[in-house]
């Protein structure tokens, strides 16, 4: 089975998948926790939010994965389909682990009243309002969404080169500018904010499932015809 070989390839790269993200997550936590110790009184201290580091890292990892491993995998006679499937399995499994880690840390933070010092890093208002299962679902959808957004961007580069990405970037800027223009023209900003406020984090996460599935499928179509 070639998917296993792809997984084996990713497991050899422990730094990119496990060590670096954890290093970022916990060093920022430690730094902020030390800062929070210097804050006098009962004041609550909210810091960036541990989950956001993983999200950004997943976007970067998604981009790096293709540039680092696609030419190698194809060069080693791995099928494009197997490379894609192996990457999906690796990304989903890894992100499930990160989601579990963050849910556990958030629960501990909540139970210890912010590590005994009202320090909020993993457990945030709004985001962590739901049940543990809901929190887990939000994380997993967000992480996978961002990983495959990066993966999509990088697959686009692989398939169409720099020019293709430029065209894609310009057209997405044009489309989003048009949306902003229309929203402003019809004075709909307040409605949009209210819509977000009236929905819980988990409801919004559910809304991200469809775009995420698209992010996952498009790279397959791109990589299927990509050359090295």
């Amino acid at each position: 089975m070639n998917i296993q070989s792809v997984l084996k390839m990713y497991f050899r790269d422990k730094w990119a998948w496990f060590l670096i993200p954890n290093l970022i997550l916990f060093s920022v936590f430690l730094l902020n926790f030390i800062i929070s110790l210097f804050i006098p009184g009962d004041e609550e201290f909210y810091s960036g939010g541990g989950f956001s580091y993983i999200i950004v890292y997943m976007l970067v990892l998604g981009i790096l994965v293709v540039t680092q491993t696609f030419p190698y995998a194809i060069g080693m006679s791995i099928r494009r389909t197997d490379y894609f499937l192996g990457t999906v399995v690796m990304a989903v499994v890894t992100n499930i682990l990160y989601a579990i880690l963050l849910v556990i840390l958030s629960a501990i933070e909540n139970a210890t009243n912010g590590w005994g010092d009202q320090f909020h890093y993993f457990h945030l208002p709004y985001l962590n309002d739901g049940t543990l299962l809901e929190q887990f679902t939000i994380y997993i959808i967000l992480f996978i969404n961002f990983f495959f957004l990066g993966f999509l961007i990088s697959s686009l580069v692989r398939r169409f080169g720099g020019k293709g990405v430029l065209i894609a970037a310009i057209s997405s800027i044009l489309v989003s500018s048009a949306i902003v223009l229309f929203v402003t023209y019809y004075g709909a900003w307040m409605d949009i904010f209210q819509w977000f406020a009236s929905h819980t984090a988990i409801e919004i996460a559910y809304g991200l499932i469809l775009p995420t599935l698209i992010y996952i499928c498009l790279p397959y179509l791109l990589l299927r015809r990509a050359t090295v």
Binding site: Q68, G75, M76, I78, R79
Partner: protein
């Protein structure tokens, strides 16, 4: 003999540029085949087509009797080591060996370790930090130890010293005689490998101009040298691929015609005859025609 590769009217165009232009050939099982030609002639494109790394514009392509594109059965039998092969930055030599072990079913770990020793490769070092020659050596270790039924080397020894190249040829021949397999070797160092090759393909301008057994090719051409008049008389009606006058003398390279014994004839007219090496033959045949367009188009 079983045919490992069957190519029929294959085209690969990059825009206007014809990298591979209506090429047809077959390669038989368990032979060492040399793929020769100038830079940009289309060698690498051809090998990438065979391994489904690029897709043909038109034509038929069969490897082990099937289309290689997204075909696990075919691809798992191929090991393609190219000069420009990239490895992930974070990977050490050991990481690459571990992944290769899981990829190639015929992988021989003992053989791989002995090759690592031969080439003095540091297992723990990251591939990014290896010298050009050592990176080539890593490719050679993978290519040999994988024992893939179809092993393709594309300029495998960039930056490799003469001792290591000799080592590569020796190990290839030793292992090949013990575990026969189909090997395609693309190289510019034709003289070095001409004794290894059993079959020769010469690519020029995207087309195959020679497709023959090495045995037949070695006697194909010879050079006659002598007084210009005598040589000119001798050359009449023969296929001349190269002329080099100096003073009153002329040296010409001639393709041996099948029936007449030109050697005797030349000797009778008092001309000096010398054999033409494979490298000289290829140089003469591809000189001046090929351009660098191929390399630029990619």
């Amino acid at each position: 003999m079983k045919k490992v590769i069957e190519v029929n009217q294959l085209d690969k165009f990059y825009g206007e540029f014809k990298a591979i232009d209506n090429v047809s050939f077959t390669i038989e099982e368990n032979k060492i085949c040399g793929l020769l030609g100038r830079n940009g002639a289309g060698k690498t494109t051809l090998m990438k087509l065979l391994t489904a790394q690029v897709f043909p514009t038109d034509g038929e392509l069969k490897v082990f009797g099937e289309n290689p594109e997204e075909n696990r059965r075919v691809l798992s039998k191929i090991c393609f080591i190219k000069e420009s092969q990239k490895y992930p930055d974070n990977f050490s030599v050991n990481d690459i060996l571990e992944v290769s072990k899981s990829l190639f079913s015929n992988w021989d770990e003992e053989f791989a370790q002995s090759l690592i020793k031969d080439f003095n490769l540091p297992l723990k070092k990251k591939t990014k930090k290896l010298s050009r020659g050592m990176q080539s050596a890593v490719g050679i270790v993978i290519g040999l130890a994988s024992r893939a039924p179809l092993t393709i080397f594309d300029e495998p020894y960039l930056g490799l010293d003469a001792v290591s190249r000799g080592l590569f040829y020796d190990r290839l021949m030793e292992d090949y005689s013990e575990y026969p397999r189909t090997v395609i070797l693309s190289t510019h160092l034709i003289d070095e490998v001409s004794n290894l090759l059993e079959h020769i393909l010469v690519v020029d301008n995207g087309q195959i101009i020679i497709n023959d057994e090495a045995e037949n090719l070695r006697g194909t051409a010879f050079t006659v040298t002598g007084q210009t008049g005598k040589v000119e008389a001798f050359l009449r009606g023969k296929e001349v691929i190269h002329r080099e006058p100096f003073g009153g003398l002329l040296s010409a390279t001639v393709i041996q015609s099948k029936n007449i014994s030109d050697w005797n004839l030349a000797a009778a007219s008092g001309l000096e005859i010398s054999p033409v090496s494979l490298q000289q033959l290829v140089v003469h045949l591809t000189k001046g025609k090929s351009t660098q367009k191929g390399a630029i188009a990619q």
